[in-house]
């Protein structure tokens, strides 16, 4: 009986290790991306849904989520591809091409095809949400709308990319972190 209990306890320790190691591995991976990855600025167009499991977030849409179908490729919904990322003359990120395999010498993100329409390919980028405190997320949408007029599109996400994986560092509204903008908006409304 004691042997059986010892085996059960040993197996429990193995499971406990896995239960801690899984979130730890996620943390380690994303810390590495943020510290060692190349930084890009992606112009965004946020909306605000609610994910009950994981808290309130600002959903991020990107101007760069639409590209032309590459020659010789026949992409369909849910296909996984590598999107090469470069910085344009305006300092913002561009998706310069799509490949089935990681391109050599270029930064790239692993993305999924949302759908295709004619020669256009619409992509699901892996940087589609920015978690914020609930009330702040609601305000963020209002603040963003004020900054999304055609003459004032100055919202962008700073994203680090390493070996195909991407992590959002911060969301900016007019060169200021969104948290600062929200804080100021709250204080102004009082």
């Amino acid at each position: 009986m004691k042997n059986k209990q010892a085996i059960i306890f040993f197996l429990f320790l193995v499971v406990a290790f896995l239960q801690l190691a899984t979130p730890f591995a996620l943390i380690r991976k994303h810390e590495a991306i943020l510290k060692e990855g190349k930084t890009f600025k992606f112009r965004t167009a946020p909306i605000d849904p609610f994910d009950a499991f994981r808290g309130r977030y600002v959903a991020l849409g990107f101007e760069q989520d639409k590209v032309l179908m590459p020659e010789g490729m026949d992409l369909k919904s849910d296909d996984k591809v590598c999107a090469s990322v470069t910085t344009g003359e305006d300092g913002f990120a561009r998706i310069s091409g799509l490949n089935k395999y990681p391109p050599i010498g270029l930064s790239y993100m692993k993305v999924k095809v949302r759908y295709t329409s004619g020669k256009d390919v619409f992509l699901d980028l892996p940087i589609d949400r920015y978690y914020m405190e609930e009330e702040a997320a609601k305000l963020a949408e209002t603040v963003y709308r004020a900054h999304s007029r055609a003459d004032k599109r100055d919202a962008y996400a700073v994203v680090c990319i390493k070996d195909g994986d991407a992590a959002i560092d911060k969301l900016y509204i007019g060169d200021r972190p969104i948290e600062d903008v929200i804080r100021e908006a709250v204080q102004t409304s009082k």
Binding site: I8, F12, Q19, F53, E134
Partner: protein, 436 residues
Amino acid sequence: MNKKYLQWLYGQLPELANKGMITQQNAEQIRQYYEGLSISSKKPLALIIFGTIGTFLIGLGIILLFAHNWEQLSRATRTVLSLMPTAAGILLCGWVLLKKNDIMALRESTATFLSLMVGASLALVCQTYHISGDSADFIMTWMLLIVPLVYLMDATIPAVIFLAGITSWTYHFWGDTLKVFLYWPLAAIVVPHFVRSLRKEMYAVRSSLFALAAALSVFLISFVMLNQKNLPGSWIIFHSGIFGMFYLIGKLDVDTPSRHWQAPFLFIGRIGILIMAFILTYHMLWDFDISKMGSFSDIGLLLNTALLVGIMSIYAFLAIRSQKSLEVEDVFYAALPLMAIFGCLFTYLVEPLSAVPAILFDVYILAFSVRYISGGIKQSRFDKLNTGILILTVLIILRFFDINIGFTLKGLTFIILGIGFLVVNIAMLRRREGKA
């Protein structure tokens, strides 16, 4: 403790004492022993229930607090805090395993707590690093991390959480038969725990709870499991087979310490059979064509066919096993899958969109209700009588909305039905009072 067996034993004790097999004192001691056992068996039961509810609420509260987002804290602090819930749960479970392994309430509550905290930790990390990725991956990771607790802690609530998790996971793959089919091997992981709890458990709560979760889970995945494009009309056989199977599981004569675990299957089976029967009286639902069936080289079609064969095989096995113990009303319930198969074959082979299967189900429900009404009158049972009248009334209402009949006739029919309902009940009540 099974009340039925206890009642039988208490009934036997006076006879055994009268025949001199045991003394009156022995009889009294036996009675007191079992009465004490059944009272004391309620204590740990209460502990399990309240302990589990308590940790469940604490776990949910912690998750909700975390969902509020702690953006005022630095990333490093948030990272450490993200791992703390799981670490706390592990310490608690480890302590219970080492020191209090014999207390079921503690095993259940700490295992439940850890199961919820694993999810909370994963969610916190995703929040801290703005990790996207679909919720299907999140759910599956969470479920796979907690399922070993079912066996290591011998706990049922984590198994229920697991079933709920994999059920919701399948809904992310509606139409993708291969992915959805993974539900079955995943669900099979927790079946040995259920079988073990049936065999050894004096308390019915854990196995009943698992049975309820299993029945609901199978019912819910039935909507995503079949791809109607490659096997038209299969939903009729599948759902009928599932409910028929549940009903027969509920009626199975098994030698387990308690039979309460069968109640959820019986309840869901009964309700499902009646609802399916009513639905199948609409002839537009029999509009499918075998020529539109997919090719057997399609793995999806093969899996769907295997699933139907599997469900119907289990149904047939249960029907044969139960045939001697089923009463006439039980046969009516259990006959639904056979009627569904007949209706589908008729539609496939003879004529699609025919009124014949729908009319067959009208007759089936009519015979059902008449049987209940006559049984209720003979046995002076109001529940049976009124159930039969209710079924008949629903059938008539449904047909009224189908057919073009004037308001006057509809109104008169309802009045007659209502009067008939009252008259029969009053007559039975007087008959019963007369006999008393």
